[in-house]
Amino acid sequence: MEFGPHLMLAVLEGAVTAAVLALMASGLSLVFGVMRVVNVAHGQFFMLGAVLAWAVSSALGGGAVGFVAALLLAPVIAGALAVAADLTVLKRVGYDPERTIVATIGLLYILQQAALMTYGPEARPVAPPFNDRLALPWIEFGPEGPGLIWPWGLSITSYKLFVMGAAAAVLAGLWALMTRTGIGLVMRATQLDRETAQAFGIPVERVYAGVFGLGAALAALAGVLIVPIQQAHYLMGGDALLLSFIVVIIGGLGSLGGTVIAALLIGLSDGIVSVFFSPTLAKILATLLVALVLVFRPEGLMGKAAR
């Protein structure tokens, strides 16, 4: 493929990755920002979303109805599960950072094994509600001036466009929730200073449970959106966790805008670097590139000093 169309394709693919990543990382960012704990099981809620999407849509006989039902149900179920985990475990360890890591590793094992035992080890697809291949044009400057050509392979699907749109809409909604509502104010207050917030009568424990649930729900929503592209598999949470973790820190702790920018940075650099190098070398270079961003800007792109 020629360089121009190739780059455009890589950017488009990178944007799809970025959209899903931003959605998932925003959930982790909330938890991390407000509660100051690392939820190692976050990726498992992503997996849970994908697995539930398969379960719901196959129970309803597939099709658009099943998919929409999954979009609504999976985040609610995952969120409820997370709230329960928060109240029974995290609250009782007092949100101690280190104990939370061990406890959420335990939660990770539990969710993964439960998925293996009920859902099984296969990767299962969910049919997208719509999925038209849209061939894309490219501008070429020929002897008679610029003209449109339709390069071989340059295309995207309507579903991938929908994923980008949906992610943008949810993130905008989340931003509005955080900045324009009382709930957001309470969350931000808790994030800034837990003790003071408590002194002002904010029910910090309920805020924490809510944030933990919301974070899981966002991950599950990302899982539902990705499953028509990527299939559900019980091990899919691992790499997703690492990537979203990276996004959160690069973006700057607790900064939603930073998280989105970081997701774009990672998604696009992954795509664009792949144009120039062999695939594995590209992955290595993209990884090092992002790591060096952090080395030379340790507080993240949009963050203030981390601790």
């Binding site: 061990v102 590793i105 335990g106 539990i110 820190i249 952090l294």
Partner: protein, 313 residues
């Protein structure tokens, strides 16, 4: 007085492990040998995490650097086991120095992520260099080559004692280190880095020293693992091998000398025994971890320290 009891305790542990060499049934004998090597890895991790307060998510790259630093020259250059052990340890030392210089520009969570990403890049590099490393499949170190100082390391008893030697060296090395002034500076950095700096300590150099020491010990464990069990593979560089030492240390008790060993042993038998009872052993392991955080929050050794013996190092 306290020092005497302390050294007595650790000497006691080493003596018990030595005695076990002669009485353990075959399977547990092999298992304890393996656990000692992995506990050495955990002790290396603990230098940085438990004593200096730096949480790395990338120690698998140091373990793998030791393992491949040993296996590659043995496979491709025909180097003997002794020199290869040194190249393995040396590789880990060089890598940890480089990683330390870059990663220590960051703190806290950013440090976690930078080490994680460097480690991810290291793992992919092993795959990329598949021509020499055979990628994920890895390389077998032939039994005939695993001779160190005339000792056959594929012999169970020799392997056990070699593992014990490595384990005790690192155990007493760590014990000695934390009682030295430098060890106290590391703890001071863990407790409050800014204050340590105000007191006039060069915290960066101390932290760098801790990264290099921690990485080198981890690499020594990796090299020993390859040599003792005859295999080097890329799976040892994957992220979960960075999480394992964290888990072992937290389970055993961070910032205790004996904790990493207890945690490694506990985790091994938790998986090994439950997998014999139920196919859902990961579920059991998960529940056990959750329960431990609820009821033994400072880890096993931490719990001993809290309940019975406040002076446990």
């Amino acid at each position: 007085m306290r020092g005497g009891r302390l050294i007595g305790l650790h000497l006691g542990l080493v003596a018990v492990l030595f005695a076990l060499n002669f009485v353990l049934p075959a399977y547990s004998h092999g298992t304890v040998a393996r656990v000692m090597v992995l506990a050495t890895y955990a002790m290396g991790y603990n230098i940085l995490f438990g004593y200096t307060g730096l949480l790395s998510l990338g120690h698998a790259m140091f373990f793998a650097a030791g393992m491949y630093g040993l296996a590659m020259p043995m496979t491709h250059l025909g180097l003997g086991a002794g020199p290869a052990l040194l190249t393995g340890i040396g590789s880990a030392a060089v890598l940890s120095l480089g990683v330390g210089l870059l990663a220590l520009r960051t703190r806290g969570v950013a440090f976690m992520i930078v080490t994680l990403m460097f480690s991810q890049a290291a793992w992919l590099t092993i795959l990329l260099a598949g021509r020499w490393t055979r990628g994920d499949e890895g390389v077998v170190i032939p039994q005939a080559d695993r001779m160190l100082l005339g000792l056959d390391l594929s012999d169970p008893s020799t392997r056990y004692l070699a593992a014990l030697a490595l384990f005790s060296a690192v155990l007493f090395g760590t014990l000695w280190l934390v009682r030295q002034p430098i060890g106290r500076v590391l703890v001071a950095i863990r407790e409050n880095e800014d204050r340590a700096e105000l007191l006039g300590y060069d915290t960066f150099r101390h932290k760098l020293g801790a990264v290099v020491l921690s990485g080198t010990v981890s690499g020594a464990a990796g090299a020993a693992y390859g040599l003792f069990f005859g295999y080097a593979g890329a799976s040892f560089a994957e992220t979960h091998y960075s999480i394992f030492p964290l888990l072992w240390v937290l389970l055993g008790g961070a910032g205790t000398v004996i904790g990493p060993f207890l945690g490694t042993l506990f985790m091994f038998y938790l998986i090994d025994l439950t997998s014999g009872l139920t196919p859902a052993y990961m579920l059991v392991a998960g529940v056990a971890l959750v329960l431990l955080t609820l009821f033994a929050p400072q880890g096993l050794a931490g719990e001993i320290r809290r309940r019975w013996w406040r002076g446990l190092p």
